[in-house]
Symmetry: C2
Subunit: 178 residues, 2 copies
DNA sequence: CCCATTTCTTAACCAAAGTCAACGAAAAAC
DNA sequence: GTTTTTCGTTGACTTTGGTTAAGAAATGGG
């Protein structure tokens, strides 16, 4: 889907660029979210805490955007957002978005298309989870996002892959021998 | 989110009600989808075929709606839709939807909200998959959708839970002893 | 009603992940 | 720069799921 230069400029103009230190929590579980982010540099991690354990749901790096599921709604967020590196990001708000929809009604369709793309991506993730072993998921991650393996702590990668840190360590050891 | 009586009636009026025999394939992988469904009676299953194996992604029963991810787009569907029981469903088309958006512009926002709700639901599913064992997932399913355990074949439930049919059989046996 | 096919269960064995504990390395705090 | 904490790896052991194979139960078609 293409958008006009005019709209592109309007989006860029209305976005704030902010800078966050490593460790900054952008959104806490239970809080109302009213910002979405476009990562220019750095890495944002989204995670739940369930039974006292962190479950990492995703990592957002350069050129990826994070729209909290509760963004712009009155429902509290189900998860945390945390900068795991010093991060520079474009920040958007619902007010700004609403304004955008009024100025350029075609952007609402654009949003819908983008959200549908996220749905498709998530369906694939879930299917891979049902189908593949942890080892296969790690190999897939090496292909898809090799940078993550370098820049993200092992225990966070482990929870992202759905295994214990010890298991991830053994998986890596096994693969090295091959 | 509430919708006006007027819109509700317009939606009902424009939908076709169709009836399908058990085993009917509503959508094949690779085909373009141009229908979405609202299940009035029966059960529709969505599934991938990956490396020759079926992976069930969801079951849609009474009062649930199925919107294929490729619905209304030119991209082919990533998965199959099959009626696993004799099914009666309301059928919608993109044309009808577009018409609806023109008549009632507020329904486009409604669609967006609904799609976002699907995203949230999927995020939860994935988090539960990362966190819980197959046994825990089965127990959860017993709580959330006890009817499925009665009406759906075990091997389809197994692929929905991400295990082999033999494992599901063992899980059930284990739980019976407790 | 019977036969053929599909589905479900069980058993035996193997591989892999979870758990608990220990230790060294790396990172953070002081 | 040293101390303290966190993180990553390893080992021993247990539990659980995958695989293969066989038989029982249910289903469907003629």
């Amino acid at each position: 889907m293409t958008i006009s230069k005019e709209i592109e400029e309007a989006i860029i103009e209305s976005a704030f660029i902010k800078s966050y230190k490593k460790g900054t929590v952008l959104l806490e579980e239970g809080k109302i979210s009213n910002e979405c982010y476009f990562v220019i540099k750095g890495c944002i991690r989204s995670y739940y805490i369930k039974d006292g354990n962190e479950i990492t749901t995703d990592f957002f790096t350069e050129d990826q955007s994070v729209t909290p599921s509760a963004y712009g709604k009155k429902t509290p967020s189900a998860y945390y957002l945390e900068c795991i590196e010093d991060t520079i990001a474009g920040v958007g708000t619902p007010e700004q978005e609403t304004e955008m929809y009024q100025k350029f009604p075609e952007t609402e369709s654009l949003t819908r298309v983008l959200v549908e793309a996220i749905v498709t991506k998530q369906q694939n993730s879930l299917a891979e989870f049902k189908m593949d072993s942890p080892e296969e998921r790690y190999v897939q991650l090496q292909k898809d996002r090799p940078d993550l393996i370098q820049r993200v702590p092992q225990y966070q990668l482990a929870s992202y892959l759905g295994v214990q840190p010890e298991s991830l360590s053994r998986i890596r050891k096994r693969l090295n021998k091959k």
